[in-house]
Symmetry: C2
Subunit: 114 residues, 2 copies
């Protein structure tokens, strides 16, 4: 039996991946942790990589999905914008729908596995 | 508007990707070209990488998807087995079904792009 058998939705835009499983997880983690560096740590990626993923998303979409906060007692931090939350919700809904659409076929397909 | 907005089905099995977009393209190309090295050239990957992808598929599935032929006037070659063709057909059918299931949502989502 396969371990996972899930469609991964990758939304490409001008040769970049605007949204995909990795970027969606990063948004979740930024929302939870309130900072890009904490999210990067949680996901085991470098701060530089996390920052590049955020920048790519912000470039591909019509408005920023993540905004960084400067100053204040915590000296920074980041948050997912309302627009970013909306994009993430829509993306997760598409994932669920795509997964559900092939549930029967996936189950049959899994019989081909070792 | 996004360039592509297609679900990619990745079938994971014991931490390997048993089947996904890259492996499906490789099977298509091996079937067309009758050799792993010609398929690797067509897809712009090294022979070594193509061979590893084939080996991973053959390990994950209950039977070989690709078999290599030795000897003869052409001194080798490879072909996709009947089982491999069946797996590929099923995979492509799942891809189409998953894509169709979110067509409306994808179209709405694309309005969020730059």
């Amino acid at each position: 039996m396969p371990d996972t058998l899930e469609p991964q939705l990758k939304v490409s835009f001008r040769k970049s991946i605007a949204m995909g499983p990795g970027k969606a997880s990063l948004l979740d983690s930024i929302e939870k942790n309130g900072s890009i560096s904490a999210a990067a740590r949680e996901l085991g990626m470098s701060y530089r990589r996390a920052w590049i993923l955020v920048d790519t998303m912000n470039q591909c979409f019509a408005a920023a999905l993540v905004e960084t906060l400067t100053g204040g007692t915590r000296g920074g931090g980041a948050q997912v914008t309302e627009f970013g939350k909306e994009v993430l919700l829509r993306y997760r809904a598409m994932e669920r729908k795509a997964t559900n659409s092939v549930r029967t076929e996936m189950s049959e397909f899994s019989e081909y596995m070792r």
